[in-house]
C-alpha cells in the first residue's frame, strides 16, 4: 500500500510518501525522525493528542484547559470528549496534574495544561 500525506508533527508540514504493509513500512519526504514515526503510525494506528477543556470550580474562569498526556487512537476522540464532559475539578490545579486517569481505557491520562489558583 502507498499513501501520500502531510506530516502534522510540526509546523513544517513535510509531504510524506509512505509505502509498505504489515510491519514493514518506508517513509520518504520527511525531514526528521518524527516524520517517519508519524507516517508509519498514520498507516497502522492513527493517533492524536486531544486538547480540550473541563469544568473547574472555584477558579477565576470556568474552564480548565487539559490534554491527553499522550496521543490517543483517532477513533476514540469523540468518546474521550464525552467522558471529559462529565469531569469537574476543584481549584487549585497545577499544570501537569492528572484530571482523569485512563481515558476511554486507553491507558492514557488527561492532564491540566494550566495552573489555576483557587479564588
Amino acid at each position: 500500500m502507498k499513501k501520500e500525506m502531510v506530516c502534522i508533527s510540526c509546523p513544517m508540514g513535510c509531504h510524506l510518501t509512505v509505502e509498505g504493509e504489515g510491519d514493514n513500512w518506508t517513509v520518504t519526504g520527511n525531514s526528521c525522525k518524527n516524520g517517519e514515526r508519524y507516517g508509519i503510525q498514520e498507516m497502522t494506528d492513527p493517533r492524536r493528542i486531544l486538547p480540550t477543556t473541563v469544568v473547574i470550580k472555584g477558579a477565576m474562569i470556568s474552564r480548565l484547559p487539559v490534554k491527553t498526556a499522550q496521543e490517543i487512537p483517532k477513533g476514540k476522540l469523540f468518546d474521550a470528549m464525552d467522558e471529559l464532559s462529565k469531569v469537574v475539578v476543584e481549584a487549585p490545579v497545577k499544570v501537569g496534574d492528572v484530571v482523569l486517569k485512563n481515558v476511554c481505557d486507553t491507558g492514557i491520562d488527561v492532564v491540566a495544561t494550566k495552573t489555576m489558583p483557587a479564588v
Binding site: 502531510v6 492524536r48 470556568s62 484547559p65 499544570v95 494550566k114
Partner: protein, 422 residues
C-alpha cells in the same frame, strides 16, 4: 522612573521583559489589560506550540505558562487589569505611559525605554463589508475561541467558517469536537491561508469541506443568523453570478485576517510600515523613536509564537542596551520588498548591533515552487533562500550573515522571488 515599561503581557511582552532582565536591567514593569498574563495563548488550548523554543509540543496555556514562570522566577513586576491610554515622549527623551486601573486609578508612569507588545486583533464582519443584517451568531473565530475555551459557552450548532487562516481551521476542529456541525470552510483565495498541517488535522480528520475560491456574499437572518450565501469567485476575486448556494446555519465564524494593534504607537508618533501595518523596526526592534521598541504581532503578524518570542527577546536586548547607553544608532541598511515579496521585517539594520547574523522575516505574495528568494545589495546577490515551496501563509525566515553585510557597509537590501537556476 522605570528603566523599561513593557506594554502587553502576552508572549512577546513576557519574552522581552525576561530578556531585558537577563541583560542586567532590573527596573522593569509589565502592563497587561487582561486579568492574567499570557495574552491570547490562554485561549489557544490546542497543541503544537513551542517546537522551536522548547523542542516539545505544548498547548498555548503551557507555552505561556513557561514564560510566566520565567518572569516570576526573575521577579519582574507587573500590573493586571491595566489599560494603557497613551504614550508620550518628553523633550528630555523620557517616556511617559498614561495608564489606568481600578486599584491605582490614573497613572503617569515614566520610563527610559518602552517596549510595545500589544499584539493584534481580528478583522470583523464590518471590516470586510459582508452584506446583510447584523444578527447574533456572527463571531470572529478568536471571540468564539475565547467563549468556548475560557468562558464555557458554546457559540452555535450549525457552523460556516469564512477564511482558512489557522484560527479558522483550529476552530473548525474545536467546534466539531464540542458537538457542532461545521458545514464548510470558505476561502476566497485559490489556496488556504493556514498551515498545511492544520488543513490535515483540523479539516481532513473530520471530513470538513474546504471551499477554495468561495466567499460569503450575504448573511440571512435579522435576529439570529439563519443562513449564508456562499458564492464562487473568479480570478479577480469577484463573485461569479449563478454560483450562489444558500447554506442554512446558526453561526458564522470569521477568520479573515489579523491587524497589528497600533493605536498607542500611532499616537506616540511611531512610524508605521504600510506593508506590515506595524511599526518599522530595526534589527533590535527599535522604532523610529529612540528608546521605543516593538515586537511580536504588533509589528507584523507571525504564524508561529516561537518567532514572536525570538523577536521579542531581541527587543528586550535592544531596550536593555538603550538603557545602558550601548545601543548603536547608525543605520547601515534598509530592507526593500522586491518582486514577489509582500513585506520584510526588520526595515532597517545597524550592523554594529548584530551578533553574527540578522533574521529577516518576510512573506511571499503568491504560492510558488521552483523559485528561490535572492537578496541583493545593488546588483550583487549576497544570499539565497531555498525552499521546496513558498506560500503566503508561511513566513519566511531569511538569515543574513553579519560578515556578508560588513563587506558592503551600507545600502539597500532587496529581496526578490526569482526562478530557481538550473
Amino acid at each position: 522612573m522605570y528603566d523599561i515599561i513593557v506594554i502587553g503581557g502576552g508572549p512577546a511582552g513576557l519574552a522581552a521583559a525576561v530578556e531585558a532582565k537577563k541583560e542586567g536591567v532590573d527596573n522593569i514593569l509589565i502592563l497587561e489589560r487582561d486579568r492574567e498574563l499570557g495574552g491570547i495563548l490562554n485561549q489557544c488550548i490546542h497543541n503544537g506550540f513551542g517546537l522551536h523554543t522548547f523542542k516539545e509540543q505544548l498547548t498555548g496555556p503551557e507555552y505561556a505558562g513557561r514564560y510566566i514562570d520565567m518572569a516570576m522566577d526573575l521577579k519582574i513586576p507587573y500590573k493586571l487589569n491595566t489599560m494603557v491610554l497613551d504614550l508620550e515622549r518628553k523633550d528630555d527623551d523620557t517616556k511617559v505611559v498614561h495608564a489606568i486601573n481600578e486599584e491605582d486609578g490614573y497613572m503617569a508612569l515614566e520610563a527610559k525605554a518602552v517596549i510595545l507588545t500589544m499584539g493584534c486583533r481580528e478583522r470583523t464582519a464590518g471590516a470586510i463589508g459582508i452584506p446583510g443584517f447584523r444578527p447574533a451568531g456572527v463571531f470572529t473565530a478568536g471571540t468564539a475561541q475565547r467563549f468556548i475555551n475560557m468562558e464555557g459557552y458554546m457559540t452555535g450548532k450549525e457552523v460556516v467558517i469564512l477564511g482558512s487562516g489557522d484560527i479558522g481551521l483550529i476552530m473548525a476542529r474545536r467546534m466539531t469536537l464540542e458537538g457542532a456541525h461545521v458545514k464548510c470552510v470558505c476561502e476566497i483565495m485559490p489556496y488556504s491561508n493556514g498551515l498545511t498541517r492544520n488543513i490535515v488535522q483540523c479539516l481532513d480528520d473530520f471530513n470538513i469541506p474546504l471551499k477554495l475560491s468561495h466567499t460569503i456574499t450575504f448573511i440571512h437572518g435579522k435576529d439570529r443568523v439563519e443562513a449564508v450565501d456562499v458564492t464562487q469567485v473568479d480570478e479577480n476575486l469577484k463573485p461569479i453570478p449563478g454560483t450562489t448556494e444558500t447554506i442554512p446555519c446558526d453561526t458564522l465564524l470569521l477568520s479573515v485576517g489579523l491587524i497589528p494593534e497600533n493605536e498607542i504607537s500611532r499616537g506616540a508618533g511611531v512610524e508605521i510600515d504600510r506593508r506590515t501595518q506595524g511599526p518599522a523596526i530595526s534589527e533590535l526592534c527599535e522604532t523610529n523613536l529612540p528608546g521605543v521598541f516593538a515586537a511580536g504581532n504588533v509589528v507584523h503578524v507571525h504564524d508561529l509564537v516561537d518567532f514572536v518570542s525570538q523577536e521579542a527577546a531581541l527587543a528586550g536586548k535592544g531596550a536593555a542596551r538603550y538603557v545602558k547607553g550601548h545601543l548603536e544608532e547608525d543605520i547601515n541598511f534598509t530592507t526593500v520588498n522586491g518582486d514577489g515579496i509582500g513585506n520584510v521585517v526588520p526595515e532597517k539594520i545597524t550592523v554594529a548591533n548584530l551578533d553574527d547574523s540578522v533574521n529577516c522575516y518576510m512573506r511571499v505574495r503568491k504560492v510558488s515552487t521552483d523559485t528561490v528568494i535572492n537578496c541583493y545589495i545593488g546588483d550583487e546577490k549576497i544570499a539565497t533562500k531555498k525552499a521546496r515551496k513558498f506560500v503566503p501563509a508561511e513566513m519566511v525566515n531569511f538569515k543574513i550573515k553579519k560578515s556578508d553585510l560588513e563587506k558592503y557597509h551600507d545600502g539597500e537590501l532587496k529581496f526578490v522571488v526569482e526562478p530557481k537556476e538550473a
